[in-house]
């Protein structure tokens, strides 16, 4: 047992559901007790989905505990099949079904005889993998299933596309700024004269999967999602993949050079150097920013970085290599991928932290006292407590991290966004600091906004106690209203009863 208040990565089924619901016309059925469908709330709230989240539960209740699910799961699958006509139904195990050890594979087999849809059992174990690992596995599983299905039917396309083309693998629902990154990557590919063959899984139909081998190469922008699928496609079709995250000026250039190398090896004849140069010098503002006086003032300032592998590694490199900021420590909660992370950031920070214990992270921040933090929502709150500004760079995230405006982290526009994020975090800290030194903007006492300075009314202790329970920002108003009420009625002493009578009379 582990005492835990907060977790960075969600349970396995969340990963499976993120992948399943990213595809078009794929339905997920969770084998879970009532209340485990909280994913639907998150998707509907955080990403403000207009459509119903295609996830239902085959409810595990007392009866299931006593007699097993029996026909229930199969019935639920076939019912969903006839109601919604999905292409694929993914049966999703949860922590509960992991312990019940029902033969879900058997249910899937039986259901797929009756259902028109394809039916898959997500091969994830709650106690072995977390959200990210499960997402990666589920995506791989779906890709493999449809490639093999097409192969059996002889529907796999012959050869590659005419022009250089790419599959972008790993864009998913509830991913950190994934939608914007996707748009930016497509735009970048357009600029490079590369066709986008498919984007998987977000917005894709499972029928597109069989066309994936047509692409010249696969691009996996996020370390956490898509590598297994890319590796599989490499083994099956020899399709090379690029796993350099195009985040930051240097890494974006590195990613583009790698693309150049990969497609030239397949007979294209491209040279992207001029493009990289033009973008770096004149389109992206990040390179110029690093020369500007603003950035000079940040030199040697201390920062700490924490997040998933992709974003924490990329941020660390941007801060240290592109802005001259002193990254005291960089860390990730993706413990299963620790070696890669260490290798990536080793030379850009003093210390590396691999942990999913938010208490440790909080302590490490307090110990270092950086000028700015780049982390998840949890680090933002640590920052609030310690009065240190924080830029949010990775999940777990809240609704404000799903902006409507265009805010990619990747590609050349991404470098601009990241620059703003970094610079705003640091100047805010500076501003605060200066205000403190000079004693604030406005040193005059706030004069009470009461109707009369001295109140001629007496508040009893219980009245006062009730008043104090009212939230601070409306307390003044309630007090004035109550006193007015009392005065109008000639009441001299205000107790709790009078307070609530006044509340009712003004209907507030």
């Amino acid at each position: 047992m582990k005492l835990a208040y907060w977790m960075y990565a969600g349970p396995a089924h969340i990963g499976t559901l993120r992948v399943a619901t990213s595809f078009k016309n794929v339905h997920a059925i969770m084998h879970a007790p009532l209340g485990d469908d909280y994913f639907n709330v998150m998707r509907s709230m955080l990403s403000r989905e207009r459509d119903f989240t295609p996830v239902t539960t085959s409810v595990v209740d007392r009866h299931v505990l006593a007699r097993g699910s029996q026909e229930k799961v199969v019935d639920n699958i076939t019912r969903k099949d006839s109601e919604e006509h999905p292409d694929l139904i993914v049966l999703t195990p949860t922590c509960t079904s992991s312990i019940l050890q029902e033969d879900l594979a058997n249910f899937v087999e039986r259901a797929s005889i009756e259902a028109k849809a394809d039916v898959l059992l997500a091969d994830v174990n709650h106690y072995r993998v977390n959200e990210m690992q499960a997402a990666d596995r589920t995506l791989h599983q779906i890709v493999q299933y449809y490639i093999e299905k097409a192969r059996k039917k002889g529907e796999l396309p012959e050869g590659k596309s005419e022009k250089p083309s790419v599959n972008i693998i790993g864009i998913s629902t509830l991913g950190f700024h994934n939608q914007h990154d996707c748009t930016e990557l497509k735009r970048l590919m357009g600029d490079l004269g590369i066709e986008v063959n498919t984007v998987i899984p977000e917005g894709a139909s499972v029928h597109e999967i069989k066309t994936m081998p047509r692409a010249w190469f696969n691009l996996v922008p996020y370390r956490e999602l898509g590598l297994m699928s890319a590796e599989y496609l490499k083994e099956e079709f020899g399709t090379p993949y690029i796993d350099i995250t195009p985040m930051g000026v240097v890494e974006t250039a590195r990613c583009i050079r790698k693309i150049q190398q990969v497609i030239n090896a397949q007979g294209a004849d491209v040279n992207y150097e001029d493009f990289i140069n033009e973008q770096t010098m004149h389109v992206s503002q990040a390179a110029w920013f690093s020369r500007s006086i603003d950035c000079q003032n940040l030199t040697g300032k201390k920062a700490v970085v924490f997040g998933d592998s992709t974003h924490a590694a990329a941020m660390t490199k941007i801060l240290a290599r592109e802005m001259g900021i002193h990254v005291v420590w960089a860390g990730t909660y993706c413990k299963y991928d620790a070696d890669w992370f260490k290798e990536q950031v080793g030379e850009y920070c003093d210390e590396i932290l691999i942990t999913d214990d938010h208490g440790l992270i909080g302590d490490a921040i307090a110990r270092v006292e950086p000028s700015a933090i780049f982390g998840t929502q949890m680090e933002r709150h640590v920052g609030k407590r310690l009065d240190i500004p924080c830029g949010v760079i990775a999940a777990p995230i809240h609704v404000q991290n799903f902006p409507i405006g265009y805010k990619p982290f990747m590609g050349y526009e991404g470098t601009n966004q990241v620059t703003d994020l970094v610079y705003n975090s640091f100047t805010l800290g500076m501003e605060d600091h200066l205000l403190e030194i000079f004693g604030g903007h406005d040193t005059k006492e706030v004069i009470t906004k009461g109707i009369s300075a001295e109140s001629d009314l007496n508040w009893t202790k219980d009245g006062q106690a009730e008043l104090n329970k009212i939230p601070g920002f409306v307390r003044g108003k309630v007090k004035r209203n109550t006193e007015k009420f009392a005065r109008d009625r000639g009441i001299q002493v205000i107790n709790a009863e009078v307070l609530y009578a006044a509340k009712e009379s003004v209907g507030a």
Partner: protein, 466 residues
């Protein structure tokens, strides 16, 4: 829908395939209510993930709750449950020093049959902190029923004898202490005379402190003294429950607590409608008065006055239709109030319907419908959300009260929604808070008034499925 109106309330039961919060969510409001408690949820990452996301910003305020996250070794019994829990609870005692630790059993502890009720007394003896066990799991319960399981367990911890000295008694009792604040003993004795002589009454149900005060004052106006409240502000202030005490529930989802109070503590339950809406509050007070043989004073005028104050809001919803998808068990009381406001209720979805505990509330609903000339709604227990969406599509209600999973998709299809969870966290009890209920109910309709004529109420393409 058939053309013939049913003559009595019609009860149906569907598949139970609906969206609701897991009952462990009760820790969110109970740890705040019971100030010296610590809630330990013994479950998996799934439970933790739910709480972390559902409780939003509260999670960052050093909450007095934590997960005892079960690992593979716990599931396969390679680790010893007792030793593990002892280690965690000792740590909690050291860091937070609570007066009670509440263990919340979850689906996992049920399935692996972890004997929490057996372990608790043993560990309690060893570490010296009371441990209360509540099995608030998704296998058996929905959302607010979590509070019910906790309060039923707490009921067993209420002292059964009032301490000898009268002074101690008022010491024990948070409510009388609050009302007698700072008064001397003689004054207390004098204020006692404001009350009619009646057997002790204890109310049950967790409400925010201001609402506790309001309801207590409301009864005081009728000369009824509230001897205690389950739960109190602190675990150490749980009310005395002697055989023969009267108890009354303030929320519709407390049937286990009511049963426990009757069977285990030999209390007498006053079955009344719940004090939600001015009509409910009035009926609640009247019922309690009638049990104690008191003729209620001034309730007519008081209720009329409240309704008068609500008219601007009632105007907005009068004649409109409402559909409850059902997820928190407040549905019957809210529907009854809204019918009184002149709305037509098309369907009352509800997770679980205890017809005995809610008998008076159901009777009032039926009476209200008849008086308002409103058709009697169908009450759908364990609803099926998919079927409900088909019915909503057909009926096109003016307002759907639903969970967050369906709210945005319905709004995108031009259907007004109100998020049901807000009713559990807003102050909705008593005369003074009726306006808060209508504030919630009318919000989407008022929003529509602000946005009307913009022509963008349907924001999904026609081919999108419901």
């Amino acid at each position: 829908m058939t053309a013939v109106e049913p003559q009595a309330l019609n009860f149906e039961c569907e598949t139970g395939n609906y969206h609701t919060f897991c009952p462990i969510s009760c820790v969110a409001w109970l740890y705040q209510k019971i100030e010296d408690s610590f809630f330990l949820v013994i479950g998996t990452k799934t439970c933790g993930y739910f709480l972390q996301n559902a409780m939003g910003v509260m999670i960052f305020a050093e909450p007095r709750y934590a997960m005892a996250e079960l690992e593979e070794g716990d599931i396969s019994a390679q680790l010893n449950d007792y030793e593990e829990l002892k280690r965690l609870c000792t740590q909690i005692k050291r860091d937070r020093n609570p007066s009670v630790i509440v263990w919340i059993g979850t689906c996992t502890t049920e399935i692996i049959k972890m004997d929490l009720e057996g372990l608790a007394p043993k560990l309690e003896g060893e570490i010296g902190i009371p441990i209360v066990v509540a099995r608030a799991n998704g296998l058996d319960y929905a959302f607010t029923q979590g509070e019910d399981t906790v309060l039923a367990a707490m009921a067993a911890r209420c002292p059964d004898k009032s301490p000898v000295a009268e002074a101690d008694k008022s010491e024990r009792n948070a409510i009388s202490k609050l009302l007698n604040f700072g008064k001397k003993k003689e004054e207390v004795a004098a204020s006692e005379s404001e009350y009619v002589d009646h057997p002790p009454l204890v109310l049950f149900g967790s409400l925010p402190d201001p609402v506790v005060t309001q309801l207590t004052i409301e009864l005081k106006k009728q000369g009824i003294k509230v001897s205690g409240w389950l739960p109190a502000k602190r675990f150490t202030e749980l009310p005395v429950l002697e055989e023969g005490y009267y108890v009354s529930g303030v929320n519709p989802f407390l049937s286990r607590t009511a049963t426990t109070l009757m069977r285990r503590r030999k209390c007498k339950l006053i079955g009344a409608p719940f004090p939600i809406g001015p009509d409910g509050t009035r009926a609640w007070i009247e019922k309690i008065c009638s049990v104690f043989g008191i003729t209620p004073r001034g309730l007519d005028e008081r209720e009329a006055l409240i309704w008068e104050g609500l008219e601007d809001y009632v105007k907005i919803i009068r004649g409109k239709s409402v559909f409850f998808m059902g997820d928190n068990l407040l549905e019957i009381s809210l529907a009854r109030f809204l019918v009184r406001c002149g709305m037509t209720v098309q369907e009352i979805g509800i997770p679980y319907m205890d017809k005995r505990y809610q008998a008076a509330e159901l009777a009032l609903l039926e009476k209200t419908c008849n008086e308002m000339g409103s058709p009697l709604p169908t009450i759908v227990e364990k609803p099926d959300n998919y079927n409900q969406l088909q019915r909503i599509n057909e009926l096109h209600p003016d307002l759907v009260i639903t969970g967050m999973a369906h709210a945005n998709p319905l709004e995108a299809r031009g259907i007004n929604t109100k998020w049901s969870v807000e009713f559990t966290f807003a102050q909705i009890h008593g005369f003074g808070n009726a306006r808060d209920i209508l504030e919630l109910v009318t919000r989407p309709l008022r929003r529509n008034n602000s946005l009307k004529d913009l022509g963008w109420d349907k924001l999904v393409r026609e081919d999108a499925k419901v």
